[in-house]
Structures are given as C-alpha cells and as structure tokens.
Symmetry: C2
C-alpha cells in the first residue's frame, strides 16, 4: 500500500523497496533472496537487484548457506552488514550528560554517562563537556572505520521542531538557546547531520523500538521520570510531535491544586508530586547523600531500592504516594489517548515494583473504559539510557527510510 495523497513515481518506488528489503532483513533476521521475495510480495528478480544495491552500499552482506530449507537447492542467506554505519545519541539532562554510539544492527559501539549538576554548571561549560563526550563517540566510530549517519542531542525541554532551538528547559534554567548551533561550533562545524530533540520523545522512540518487536504494541505513552517528568506518545505507530514539536509536556499538567512550586514557575504541576525530587523529599531527610546530584543517579536509586526491600516504612509510604499520583495523571493520559501500554521509564522503571500497584489501582478507578481501556503498565529496560538510544536510532532510521542517502561505501 502506498501513501494516499502523493503520486508515486518509479524512483520513489525503488527507494521504498530498498527500504522495505533492508528493514525486512533487520527486523526478521538473515534469510534467502527467495524468502524475502515470498514474504514481501516483490518478485525475485527485483529482490536480487535490490539486495545487490544494498550490498554495494555496505548495508547488507552475503551470509552462510540457508540450511532451513528441506527441499530444493539451498539459497545463500543475506544478512545485515551492521558494522559499517553508526548513529550517535547524546543527552544533556538535569543531573547527567550521556552519549551512546550504535551500529545499524543496534549494537553498542561506545557508551558513557557522567553525573553533572547542569543547572549549577551553566550552558557554556555544559555544552563544552557535552561536545567532548560526542567527540569521544565520533572517535570510537572512526576507530572501527564506520560511517556516521548523524548525531542527535537530547535535551529536557521544549525544542522547536522547525529550527531545533531550545525554547525552554525549566529544570536546567535554560531558555531561547540555539543548542544545535552551539554544539556545531564546538565540534568544528562537522559534515555529519546534528539535530536537537526533546529527551522524552527520543526515549519514547527507543522504548517503542523495544516494545514493537517484543509485544507488537503500536499505541503507547512513555513516562520518563527524573527530576523533571516528560512524556512521549506513540499512536498508530507514529510519534506525536504536535504543531511546533512541543507535545508530551505531561510534567506540567496541573493535577495537585495545593501542590509545591514547580521549576516552571507554577504550582501543582504533575512533576511536583511524581518527580525524583518529590520522591526523595518524601522518603529521605535533606542531608541524605541520596539527594546529592553529584552522585550517579543509578547509585542513589539503588539506595532507595535497598530501603524499600528492607521494608523501611517511610520509603514504602513515599513510593505508594508517588504511585497513586502517577495514576492520577496517568488516568488523564489514558482517557485521552487509550494506549495499549503506559511505559515507565527513567527512575519510574527502577522503582516500578513499588509504584505499579498504587498506579494500577488509580488507573482502574479513574479511566472511563472498563479495565483501564486495556492499558497495561510496562517497565522499560532502557533506564536512563533510553534518550541517547532513541537519538542514535533516529539517525539510523533515516538510513532505513532511505538507504540511498549515505552514498555507496
């Protein structure tokens, strides 16, 4: 089936079919040309020609002989040549900087995360340090003679879709900043594409990539919990962007009328009752090292998990309260969007075992459709690595969508 509304010519048809074959082998694994033809509905001669072009472009390669066929002569398998092309995702978040480089097969080529108090450091120094992380990742790609499809930088704030400008990041204290331009200048005006995107949207793309394969889910809402709370929506297999790219700002839904002051200047925003700061305030005393942003967030959360496992009453009460508030806002999202899954990311995933019961209960009470409209609560395995993964993936997706764009190897 082709898109409605746009006439398809034969160049576009060929590009589409290159994309279909490349994705097919990526999604379903090594297979013979004959099998690709059977499964995609393309004829055998066309598949042979498409595979030849994809091999020339360094995206597919010849594999072993096909041993799965009982009858007839065995075909040669074709497999993804993942090693030659990489995408890089980097992230500036409230309490850390991170980077990952993935190859076309999704293997991690390079990965790093450093705890940083970004609001304290300010934009200039933070961007210097982030550029350094990106350079290290580019070097790692170069060291294995990979071609770089691009770099995506995740930021926790409103990114204007058209310009890539960061309009507002309340928890960083940044606003109206041309992050892409600043990064390009620090990286010496590189030739590879560099784009800036919202971290929750990128984390959502990564979680969708994970769940699409495992559970065939195509409607989901991801909640990323850190100091700020972000969200991303996939509906019918598409990430929602909104008119200007600002969609998913769930952390600032007004749900707690008598709530705490929020980083955005309002009171009662959802993140003031479910963000990491809210949890730690409820669960610990002010001088507790768990509250220290210069320590790695995963280590701090491990300490919370330890207390919860030991049955510490204050910790368990704080988790139940946060879980219930998660359900109050979650029910709003489920009523509006009817996702098949509410996916817990970031710190929500780590503390999921204690958050899920009160969350589930609140959903069932507050969603109009019986049984929460079929919505399951799911934990993402990607943790705080989701946004960088999504950022790298979005660069690689562009290769899958148009295998001709990188040129021949």
């Amino acid at each position: 089936m082709v898109n409605r509304g746009v006439a398809a010519d034969h160049v576009a048809l060929r590009r589409n079919n290159l994309s279909v074959v490349l994705r097919h082998v990526h999604d379903l694994g090594p297979r013979s040309r004959a099998r690709i033809a059977e499964e995609t509905g393309l004829n055998k001669a066309t598949v042979s020609s498409l595979v030849a072009e994809l091999v020339e472009r360094g995206l597919l390669r010849e594999g072993s002989a096909d041993s799965s066929r009982a009858l007839g002569r065995p075909g040669q398998l074709v497999e993804l040549d993942g090693t030659g092309v990489c995408g890089i995702g980097a992230e500036i978040n409230v309490e850390y900087l991170a980077v990952v480089a993935l190859d076309l097969a999704g293997n991690v080529v390079h990965e790093k995360r450093v705890p940083v108090d970004v609001a304290h450091l300010g934009p200039g120094t933070t961007l210097d340090r982030c550029a350094e992380l990106v350079r290290e990742a580019v070097d790692a790609v170069d060291a294995r003679q990979g071609r770089l499809a691009g770099v995506t930088l995740a930021v926790p704030g409103l990114v204007e879709g058209e310009t890539g400008e960061l309009k507002l990041a309340p928890n960083l204290g940044w606003s109206e900043l041309s992050v892409a331009k600043e990064m390009r200048s620090r990286l010496g005006e590189p030739t590879y594409p560099l784009q800036v995107d919202n971290e929750a949207n990128l984390a959502t793309l990564a979680a969708y990539g994970e769940l699409r394969e495992a559970d065939a889910l195509h409607d989901l809402v991801l909640l990323t919990g850190a100091v700020g709370v972000g969200g991303g929506v996939v509906s019918g297999g598409q990430l929602l962007r909104g008119a200007r790219g600002y969609s998913g700002e769930v952390g600032h839904m007004p749900v707690a009328p008598d709530g705490q002051a929020c980083g955005c200047g309002r009171t009662g925003c959802w993140e003031t009752v479910v963000g990491l700061t809210a949890l730690l305030r409820k669960a610990t005393d002010p001088d507790n090292p768990v509250r220290d942003p210069s320590l790695d967030v995963e280590r701090r959360l491990a300490a919370v998990v330890e207390r919860a496992e030991a049955g510490d009453v204050r910790t368990l009460e704080a988790l139940t309260e946060v879980g219930t508030w998660l359900g109050v806002g979650g029910a709003i999202l489920v009523n509006i969007l009817n996702p098949a899954a509410l996916v817990l990311g970031g710190y929500f995933a780590v503390l999921g075992p204690w958050l899920e019961e009160p969350l589930d209960k609140a959903l069932r009470q507050r969603v109009l459709a019986a049984d929460g409209g079929g919505c399951r609560v799911v934990r993402s395995d990607l943790g705080f690595g989701a946004a960088v993964r999504g950022g790298a993936q979005i660069c690689l997706d562009q290769v899958f969508a148009d295998p001709t764009q990188l040129g021949e190897s």
Copy 2:
C-alpha cells in the same frame, strides 16, 4: 513518497494514483489533464488513462473547455462527478437524533434533526426511530439514483474499534450494546456498509476537513460540547484512535476535585464543570424551559445567547466560569498534544464569543510553552451537524482512498 515498511506493487501503485487524481480534482477544482500531470508529477499518458477509468466509474466527468490558458490550444477540463455517489451519517445523542446524506462533492442531499430525550426513551425505541431516519436518507439517495458508499452511525460513548460494539455511553445510560447489529436488523440487513463510531471522533474528522482546506491545519483538538463533553485529536493529519478506539474521552479527565457527580459515576470530571448541564444549572433556574431536553438544543441556546447579549449578569458569570474551566482542561490537552488549534464544537461554538476570553487567559497561564505553544482557539461552523457530516464523510473518504471499491457505474 511511499509508505515505509510495505512493498508497493503495481496494482497498488495504480490504485494509489487513481486516488491521487480523484482527490486532486476534489481539493483543487476542475482542471485539464495536462495541468493534473504537471501538478502531481505523473506523466500525461498515465493521467489520461487514470482519468478515463475515473470517468468510467462515475467519479469524474468532462467539464467545459479550459479558458485559463492564454497560450496553446485549450484543454478539456475534468471535474468531480459528485452527484452519483453518497455517504450517510446518522447520530444518536443525549438530546437529539440526526442524519445527513452528502454527495461526493460534499453537497447536502438530505438532512434532518429531531429533539429526543434518549435516556428516557431507552435503546429499543431510540434505535427504531434512528433506523427510520436512516431509511428516509437512503430513500433520498435512491430518489436521485445515487450509489450509497455506506452509513456511519455516531454515538456519544466508547465504541470498540474492532467490533463496533458500544461499550459504554454514560449520558445515554447504555452499555455493552451491539448497535451496528441492532441497526442492520432494523434496516433489513442492507448490502451497504454500516459502521458505528464515536461522535466526537466523527465531529473531529468533519472539523478537520473544514479547517484543512481553510487554514492548512494538521494538528488540532476538537471539543464537542453538549450534555457530555467529548474530544478528538488530529495529529500530523491523522485522527488518533488509540489501541481499542477509546481515545478522546476528555470529558472524564478529573479536574475539579470537589466537583459534582458525573454520569460516569465519578466526581469532578471535566464535563461536570463545562458540559451544557453545568452551564444551564449556573445560568438558569430549574423550571426554566431552557433546561427542557424535549426542546431543540439550538433554540434553547439562542435563548442563552439573547440573555448574554442583553448583559444578564448571572448568564455572563456562568459563561466566564465555564470558559475558565474550559481553559483548565484545555491546558492539559495543549501541554500533551501541542495542537495548532483548539476547536470549539457543539454548544461551545455557539457561546464562543463569551467563552473564548476566559479560555484564552487560562491557556496562557497554564501551558508550559510561551503563548500557549502557538495554539489558537477556533470556532467550528458545523455546530451540532459535525458528527453526522463526519460520518458521511468517512464513507466518502473510503471512495477517495480506493476509487475501485464501488465498482463501475
């Protein structure tokens, strides 16, 4: 550009290109084959062959000579043959039944609305009367020798996408009802397709059709205000359905913690503070005829408009209060979805002149992005006719998407 992920064969390509040409003439008006070729990028011979097939199928026809060309010999114009194919939309709502038949060009062939207290009447009698309305519309299509593309019935409740079963309509007091089956049986098991859909989603499709042409908007949220409050979301040009078809249940977002009891059994749902019942309770005394559901809703609203125009303080205060509450829930939707427009439908559109100022103010205060993320408040002109129009349109859209499905005329 073609869809990614699915191989396109040449039959699909031809079907797509028939659809492209038919939509092109529908959207942009009569034009020559040469101009269609220029504008779509298809070659002239292909366009001639596509037009010939569409004429044979009774969807396009030869028009007058093209007088727009100053040079060269004038081409023959091709125009939409709208008269031969119709779609029907019907609606069961809390206080009325309605039906409309539209031809392919969007002209109204037949239209009717009757005030009915559906909750009082019960499902059996209501469906009898609704079937009668549909039969009248089918007769009107038959009378002009039109072919019927299908019937869509709008209901104010949760409709399961896969089965078309009405799971729950709180304001009708209906649940777990196979409305499509009941209607088909009352209509004598007709051969045309009959489907059931959520009224807010259908109203959204109609409003999108209206605004897409006028303002090129592709991201919007429609709010339909009647006794119940429904919503629909178009994002990137696509209507959001959700995993089971239950999306858009905005009326039951919990926004007023100390609010009134809702038809759904909870308290504080958004519709308890912005629904028509809430407005009339605030603006009028219990014995006021304006509250009588056996009178036509548009006439009752005309009485409210009259009082507002006369400066009646109680009416104006009620409108300001409802407008502010509209903004409280509207801000949640705008933070999540970043639409280019929040479209007021149903009674919200009629009273828009008094609701918009407090609504706008609340949006600006509560949306994270500056200036409400660029979201405008817009009134739909379709009033209470939006859902039936959307229902008829969805049948016709299926003809536009695949002009081969109706057979040749």
